[in-house]
């Protein structure tokens, strides 16, 4: 059962970028994203506060914490990532996103003084070579642009920094609209 649920999850999770790009054929990325946030946000608010009624109303310091999550996770990450997705292939986009854990590891070694092990550096070097192997031919064939790649890296940096900030703030707010990816 877990395997079936897992497969279903990965299938749907992976489909997000293809679905987004399919939508870009009709409207620019930020327009599609705005409509998505509005409808999905309204659905989740209705579910949590209207139907299940099991979510506490935010108060006091939770609001700025939620605002940081909203700004980094939703606006800046998905905003920049979707702008990038218009310029690069879905495969390249997914491959870069798969390396997010490395970025988090490198950044937290800077300011959380977490030790990066030798194996981690080795893995980072191998994966970086992989990114170059995919990105370089795409740039040469103009199926990806420098602008798109830069936006993608900016999105990932923002996401890594955002997750460090919310870890630092010990953000435990679990309002419906704080859910990443939504």
């Amino acid at each position: 059962m877990d395997t079936i649920l897992g497969l279903l999850f990965v299938f749907l999770w992976a489909s997000a970028s293809t679905a987004a790009k399919y939508g870009f054929q009709a409207q620019p990325p930020l327009t599609v994203l705005s409509i998505r946030f509005a409808i999905a946000g309204a659905l989740m608010l209705a579910w949590s506060y209207g139907i299940r009624r099991n979510t506490a109303v935010l108060r006091g310091r939770q609001w700025p914490q939620l605002a940081i999550v909203g700004l980094t996770n939703s606006t800046l990450f998905l905003g920049a990532a979707w702008l990038a997705l218009r310029e690069v292939s879905v495969g390249l986009y997914s491959l870069f996103l798969a390396t997010m854990p490395f970025l988090v590891a490198i950044l937290s070694s800077f300011w959380l003084s977490r030790q990066t092990t030798r194996n981690e550096w080795l893995g980072i070097a191998i994966a970086a070579a992989g990114l170059v192997v995919v990105a370089a031919p795409s740039l040469a064939a103009s199926t990806a642009t420098w602008q798109g790649l830069s936006l993608l890296v900016i999105a990932m940096l923002n996401q890594a920094i955002g997750s460090d900030i919310s870890n630092a703030l010990r953000c435990r707010c679990r309002a419906p609209s704080s859910t990443p990816g939504s």
């Binding site: 749907l12 997000a16 054929q25 409509i35 996770n73 495969g91």
Partner: protein
Amino acid sequence: MILGLIFLLPFAVALNGDAVLQATPQLVGGLGWSILMVSVIANALLFTMQKRDPLWASTWLLLALVFSYLQAALVLGEPIGAFDVIGSALVVAGLIVSGTIDLRRVAVAPAQRPPPR
């Protein structure tokens, strides 16, 4: 997410304020799938699975990469070249060498949520 929208709106208006919305199949299909299948169903699944097993997500990320390539090829007709396969293999090898993805699922690095989609 509503707060995310409020922050996003100025950018969206600045870039595409003059866009005329038309309910084309691409817009309705892409948006409908993003909202229902990804925002609602996939997030609920992720939440449920991670509650059962906090270390769960990382190994599955390998498969997400494969699915992404296949879906884009099928739906959007994006080609999958030799460089894509070689580069992806290197990235996966890097994730395994670093211990980010542990195929034996022993002593996995602290669970991270996959980046939002």
